[in-house]
């Protein structure tokens, strides 16, 4: 049982900074959850609260069914990978991995050696045991940091922006690698990142954090397709956001007036006429020169058109002044800056978000 | 590195052990083990004797300490000491702590007096000495109760000296200190308690020691003395400073000990010492012992040995200091005696030592103003 429970955790720093507000989250045994949010949203503080580096001002933290508030970091069964890896520069790779096995004193001495080899094998770096950290590449350091964190068989794995300092290609391969290893051992894992792609691709569930609060917790597809708030919509993936007022509610449809453009959208059951809402569309559903196939069509001027390999992406300025991103189908027309175009989006692809 | 036994080092070790406990630095325990290798046996069969350094110390070692060691089997640890003014406070601090960093030392009269005021000196039984009868009575020092504390060690004369390559005729009179023809050419001694320049001024321009009795008289003397400053090219505390600049003529003339000048001459330096017309300044040292020393018997033996006329003569022949035995006991030939003592001690200016001790602060204040403003 390696469940993680955060229950109504609050963190207020002595200086008055309110870093975490009423945060509650349950991570099930073996689950991979990513906390994602912009810099300074409180996600790292949340992670450090779990590791024991910070004490919550109020609320409780549970690890593996035990309430751990007040327990120092070294007595918590957490394994953490730090942003810059924090490999001890004065120890070899082997010594780094052995550190967690020997300091606690609860690891049988004769098994330390085998465990080191086992971990090196797990991260596919057998033979690097006697290197010093500064002789390793970024990716190798990352793997060793992971091996070190996992060596003492922690109940949960905490990853603090572990891929942030790697270059793009390496980052992508490490995303796959991390997930592989996590699934192989089946360890409960929390990843903290500000990179939404990373969050979407790696996790079982995503917890989107903003200004110290969890705005939405759910599976990646759910969060992407059904953002609970404007912030989530904007932060996860690219979104076109239109603020407006509900004009009409009928059956399963609502009509929203956004600065002169009227959107028809699927109606959530909680909106009423006169509500201020936000309509969200994804670029891939917002098609340039759609013909008559879309429910909502509106016009604007192309400012930039970019070729992205399988499609063109178009930035369009609406008469209201707001910018919208749309796509041109592969068989669609060629557009360039200055063209006046029409954009279309289906009602089912228009999400209505209430603040 | 081979280092002979040394009682001072063992004291050093005690110090470190003490420090260890104070600082609580465990590493030092190992250190004290190292120091242990150098500790001496501390028996009374060795004496620590301190004198002035340089040639003075070397000659005393060769002509006094070594023969004494051979004769008695008591080994001597020879040390160089700083200026009189600086050593007395240190001796006092050691004595007050019950230590005796040295067993016998030779101290000029003002130092002996200062030590007496602080009750630093061991008193001696005259009957235990055999050779005190030879020592000039003027050079014995008794405390207020009439106990013997200091026995004459050496006497020396402060002369006017000059570099023979720079000037054919050096100054012969103390009046040249005031003579503007010597402007910026002379070396003068400081502090006053070693150079005794107030006594010179008093002897030349006033009524001698009588003119140094009251503060206002002393002020008058200093007023006159301030006229010597234009002639001073250098004020020296360290003989070495003047010695080297005298040798190469940088400072062509000045006040210096007759004995040191003669040693320089022997080494081939173009220098000459002149017994001053109005009398050279007579300084003298006493053998004294801190009262905390526990080597009383050996001390008596040493001082007694040093007081033998033959030993005094031997030291004088080599060091060119004036023997402290009365002239009739000295077997120095007339020429040698003339070389070290000139026209004799009777014609020398004897400084008003008491003044320097009793009015120390006052004198030093006047003196510092005088030389610093120069």
């Amino acid at each position: 049982m390696s469940q993680i429970i955060l229950d109504a955790v609050e963190k207020v720093y002595p200086g008055g900074v309110h870093a975490v507000k009423d945060a509650s989250l349950v991570v099930e045994d073996g689950e991979f959850v990513t906390i994602v949010g912009p810099s300074g949203c409180g996600k790292t503080t949340t992670l450090r609260t779990l590791a024991g580096f910070e004490q919550p001002t109020s609320g409780t933290v549970g690890l593996g069914g035990i309430e751990v508030s007040g327990v120092p970091p070294n007595e918590r069964a957490t394994g953490m990978v730090f942003q810059d890896f924090a490999l001890f520069p004065h120890m070899t790779v082997g010594e780094n991995i052995a550190f967690g096995l020997t300091v606690g004193g609860d690891w049988p001495e004769d098994e330390v050696d085998t465990r080191i080899e086992e971990m090196l094998e797990l991260v596919e770096l057998s033979g690097f045991r006697d290197r010093m950290p500064d002789q390793l590449s970024g990716g190798q350091q990352q793997r060793i940091a992971l091996a070190r964190a996992l060596a003492p068989e922690p109940e949960v794995l905490l990853l603090d922006e572990p891929l942030a300092s790697l270059d793009k290609q390496l980052r992508e391969s490490m995303q796959v690698e991390l997930r592989r290893i996590q699934e192989q051992i089946g360890i409960t894992t929390i990843l903290v990142t500000h990179n939404q792609t990373e969050a979407l691709t790696m996790s079982d569930r995503i917890a989107v954090m903003n200004d110290g609060r969890f705005e939405q917790v759910g599976a990646p597809t759910e969060v992407y397709q059904q953002p609970a708030t404007k912030f989530v919509a904007d932060f996860i993936g690219t979104a076109n956001v239109f603020d407006g007022t509900v004009r009409n509610v009928s059956d399963s449809r609502v009509t929203v007036d956004c600065d002169g453009v009227e959107f028809e959208a699927a109606a959530p059951d909680y909106v009423a006429v006169g509500d201020s809402v936000t309509v969200v569309t994804r670029p891939e559903h917002t098609v340039v020169e759609p013909g008559d196939t879309r429910t909502n069509v509106f016009e604007g001027d192309v400012s930039v058109s970019r070729f992205l390999g399988d499609h063109h992406e178009c930035h369009v300025t609406l008469p209201s002044g707001s910018d919208v991103v749309g796509v041109v189908d592969s068989d669609g027309p060629t557009v360039s800056g200055g063209d006046r175009v029409s954009l279309g989006v289906d009602a089912k692809d228009c999400l209505v978000v209430v603040e | 590195m081979k280092v002979p036994d040394n009682t001072k080092i063992s004291q050093n070790r005690r110090g470190f052990l003490k420090y260890t406990s104070v600082a609580g630095a465990g590493a030092l325990t190992a250190l004290s083990g190292c120091v242990g290798g150098f500790s001496g046996d501390g028996t009374a069969s060795s004496l620590t004797v301190s004198s002035f350094g340089g040639a003075f110390k070397e000659i005393l070692e060769a002509e006094l300490y070594e023969p004494f060691e051979e004769e008695t089997g008591i080994s001597i640890e020879s040390q160089a000491q700083g200026g009189t003014a600086e050593i007395i406070p240190r001796i006092r601090s050691a004595v007050e702590n019950g230590n005796a960093p040295v067993d016998v030392l030779t101290v000029p009269v003002p130092g002996v007096l200062r030590g007496l005021n602080s009750d630093l000196w061991m008193t001696h039984e005259e009957s235990e000495f055999e050779n005190l009868e030879f020592i000039s009575d003027d050079l014995m020092k008794y405390d207020d109760d009439g106990n013997l504390v200091g026995i004459g060690s050496q006497a020396w004369l402060i002369n006017l000296v000059h570099n023979t390559e720079e000037t054919d005729n050096g100054p012969t009179s103390w009046t040249s200190l005031w003579d503007s023809t010597y402007e910026d050419q002379m070396a003068m001694m400081t502090p006053p308690v070693t150079g005794y320049m107030p006594d010179i001024a008093a002897a030349i321009h006033f009524d001698g020691a009588d003119s140094l009795q009251s503060e206002s008289d002393i002020r008058d003397v200093f007023e006159k003395l301030s006229e010597v400053t234009p002639q001073a090219q250098m004020w020296y505390t360290n003989e070495a400073n003047f010695q080297s600049s005298l040798e190469n003529g940088e400072t062509p003339m000045g006040m210096l000990y007759n004995d040191i000048t003669l040693v320089l001459q022997d080494q081939g330096a173009p220098v000459e010492s002149t017994f001053v017309d109005e009398g050279s300044v007579l300084g003298s040292g006493r053998w004294v012992s801190p009262r905390t020393s526990e080597n009383g018997t050996a001390i008596t033996q040493f001082i007694d040995y040093a007081s033998r006329p033959a030993v005094q003569d031997r030291v004088s022949r080599n060091l060119y200091t004036v023997p402290t035995i009365e002239e009739q006991h000295s077997e120095l030939d007339a020429e040698t005696y003339q070389r070290v003592a000139g026209p004799g001690l009777d014609s020398a200016i004897v400084p008003n030592f008491d003044m320097y001790v009793e009015r120390q602060e006052f004198i030093n204040q006047l003196w510092n103003e005088l030389i610093i403003d120069s």
């Binding site: 590791a51 024991g52 120092p72 970091p73 070294n74 007595e75 957490t78 394994g79 953490m80 730090f82 924090a86 001890f88 520069p89 004065h90 550190f99 967690g100 300091v103 606690g104 964190a149 003492p152 905490l158 | 590195m1 280092v3 002979p4 040394n6 001072k8 004291q11 050093n12 110090g15 470190f16 420090y19 104070v22 600082a23 630095a25 590493a27 250190l31 120091v35 150098f38 301190s50 002035f52 350094g53 040639a55 003075f56 110390k57 160089a80 000491q81 700083g82 200026g83 240190r90 601090s93 050691a94 007050e96 702590n97 230590n99 960093p101 040295v102 070495a240 080297s244 040798e247 080494q267």
Partner: protein, 285 residues
């Protein structure tokens, strides 16, 4: 690391360079002036050390420049002289004790101030730095009063105590810098891996600070070795360190043995500084 000229040349190209030839000539002139001037200054720094070194090999009694030959006479005199050797031992013992004392005080203060909050932090910081800013003669007089009052005036260990305090700002500043530079995540990683606080300090913090601690201790060592005025004020009648012994010797003669001792000291100092440079990972790369 690229230099200013290099960049200008490669980015402006051949023709631009020809056009600005007069300007670049002026650049070179300034560089030449700077180089000549600084070479003179380096010479100024070097000269006395070189002269002392040469002097120490003079065969004659008096210091002459240039020396008339080469001789190890004065080194022999140094190693034959009990007074000098005892002074050297005294100096070394005081310096080692001072290095241990100063480093333990300075480093602990730096650690405490870096890791914890105190109400009188500014006071402790001030006390940690002030000793080196006050004229040493004042520190010396202050210790004279203290040790005099305690009745331990003149005891050799008082020098070690005084130097420990007087030089503690060096380890303090160096260790403070080191603590500031250490990435906290090393210590957190260790704690996360199960190391208790004391273990973290022993296995992570101290090893990472090794260069700073070592440099601090060496600084204190070499400074103590060279310190004169405090030692002189508080030392007893017969206790001499090398600087005191030199000063006392200077009183009676400018013997070349002083030059010999000086060169030994210069060599020791340079060796220690090279060690500091090496252990601190090349401070001046």
């Amino acid at each position: 690391m690229s230099d200013g000229r290099e960049t200008t040349r490669s980015s402006t190209g051949e023709y631009a360079r020809l056009e600005t030839k007069r300007g670049s000539g002026r650049d070179r002139l300034y560089q030449l002036l700077l180089n000549s001037y600084t070479s003179l200054v380096i010479g100024f720094v070097l000269l006395p050390l070189v002269v002392i070194s040469l002097m120490s090999f003079t065969p004659s009694e008096f210091l002459r420049f240039p020396p008339e030959g080469l001789s190890l006479r004065w080194y022999r005199e140094f190693f034959d002289s009990r007074a000098w050797l005892v002074a050297m031992q005294n100096s070394l013992f005081i310096a080692i004790a001072a290095a241990v004392g100063a480093t333990s005080i300075g480093a602990t203060a730096a650690f405490a101030l870096d890791r914890y909050d105190y109400r009188f932090e500014m006071v402790l910081t001030g006390l940690s730095i002030l000793p080196i800013l006050l004229p040493p003669v004042i520190i010396g007089v202050a210790f004279v009063t203290l040790f005099g009052l305690l009745g331990v005036g003149g005891e050799p260990w008082t020098l070690a105590v005084a130097h420990s305090i007087f030089f503690s700002p060096f380890p303090f500043v160096l260790v403070s810098q080191g603590l500031g530079d250490i990435d906290r995540s090393y210590e957190e990683a260790a704690a996360d891996l199960g190391a208790a606080k004391a273990t973290v300090i022993r296995r992570i913090t101290v090893p990472l600070l090794r260069a700073n601690l070592f440099a601090g201790a060496l600084f204190a060592f070499i400074l103590s070795l060279n310190e004169y005025i405090i030692s002189w004020l508080i030392s007893g009648f017969s206790f001499k360190t090398i600087p005191i012994q030199i000063f006392t010797s200077l009183r009676y003669s400018y013997s070349p043995v002083i030059a010999a001792v000086s060169l030994l000291f210069i060599v020791m100092t340079v060796v220690v500084m090279l060690m500091v440079d090496r252990f601190a990972g090349g401070m001046w790369k």
